[in-house]
């Protein structure tokens, strides 16, 4: 890339640090997705990628294009906003279907549905 050659040294360091941070978080999240033992624990791993994984990449991109093009470039922040706002939708769908499946199978570790039982502190073993 031609633009990369014009990047000053300090910016090279900062941009590569953020790219590495984002990539590492995405990688660790993926490892967690593969290695954590239960579905509900695995739900937590990809959020590394959707929170600071995306965040670090977006920051790196903003710094790179701001420095190389000589004008403030910050439309990448929209990617961060939309990823953050839409993640709960997917996560809740996955979680609810998993809860439904576990309850249908009668798994004793999964608490009873809060929308059906009015008592909030119902014994999870009764499920």
């Amino acid at each position: 890339m031609n633009e990369a050659a014009t990047l000053p040294f300090w910016a090279e360091i900062v941009v590569s640090a953020f790219v590495l941070l984002g990539a590492s978080l995405a990688l660790i999240g993926t490892i967690g997705l593969a290695r954590l033992p239960t579905f509900f624990e695995r739900l937590h791993a990809p959020t590394l990628g959707t929170s600071w994984g995306t965040g670090a990449m977006v920051i790196a991109s903003m710094i790179f294009f701001t420095v190389t093009s000589g004008r403030p470039v910050f439309h990448e922040i929209l990617i961060g906003i939309f990823v953050t706002v839409t993640t709960p939708v997917t996560l809740m769908l996955l979680a609810q279907s998993a809860l439904h499946r576990e309850r249908a199978e009668g798994n004793p570790d999964v608490p009873a549905s809060v929308s059906r039982t009015p008592a909030p502190d119902s014994d999870p073993n009764e499920a």
């Binding site: 937590h44 929170s51 709960p88 999964v110």
Partner: protein
């Protein structure tokens, strides 16, 4: 019907339009037209209008959340990399949420989801019970305090 039913939405759309294209007079005019028409479309859907009472507390909330996300990122990375499964206990917990405002609840869901280590699973709007899953459930009371005192109180101040 007022000309601008959702001034904040219109302004955000215009800003987004100009960020994606360029900051010029032409794109300002085009963006303003599109943003205004879009806010009329939004008004036609008649969503519940959120009432921001103390909007100046939003940056404080954003700061707290960004800081917490960094902290929990580090915590979850530690859990995954060290792979300590015997000392760690993950589990479900229920919290009674007093927030009623739907926008505030949506924000709370976004916060809890974006924070690795906590996941919003189920919410019962009639009695305000929230079922969530926590990756590192050492002290249930600590997590309850975090949600109730750190996020919910601030959200209540902003929206209710």
């Amino acid at each position: 019907m007022t000309v601008l039913p959702y001034p904040l939405l219109t302004a955000s759309l215009l800003l987004m339009w100009m960020t994606l294209n360029s900051f010029s007079i032409g794109h300002f005019i085009l963006g303003a037209i599109i943003a205004t028409v879009a806010s009329w479309a939004m008004a036609a859907l008649r969503p519940a209008k959120p009432h921001l009472r103390k909007w100046y507390l939003l940056p404080k909330l954003l700061g707290i959340v960004l800081y917490d996300i960094v902290r929990s990122n580090i915590a979850v990375v530690g859990i995954i990399l060290t792979g300590r499964t015997r000392t760690r206990r993950s589990g479900f917990m229920t919290i009674h949420i007093e927030l009623k405002d739907t926008t505030a609840l949506a924000l709370l869901a976004v916060i809890l989801t974006s924070t690795p280590g906590t996941a919003w699973l189920e919410y019962n709007s009639s009695d305000g019970t929230l079922l969530m899953h926590v990756l590192d459930l050492i002290e249930e009371q600590e997590w309850t305090d975090l949600v109730k005192n750190r996020y919910e109180r601030l959200l209540m101040e902003i929206f209710e």
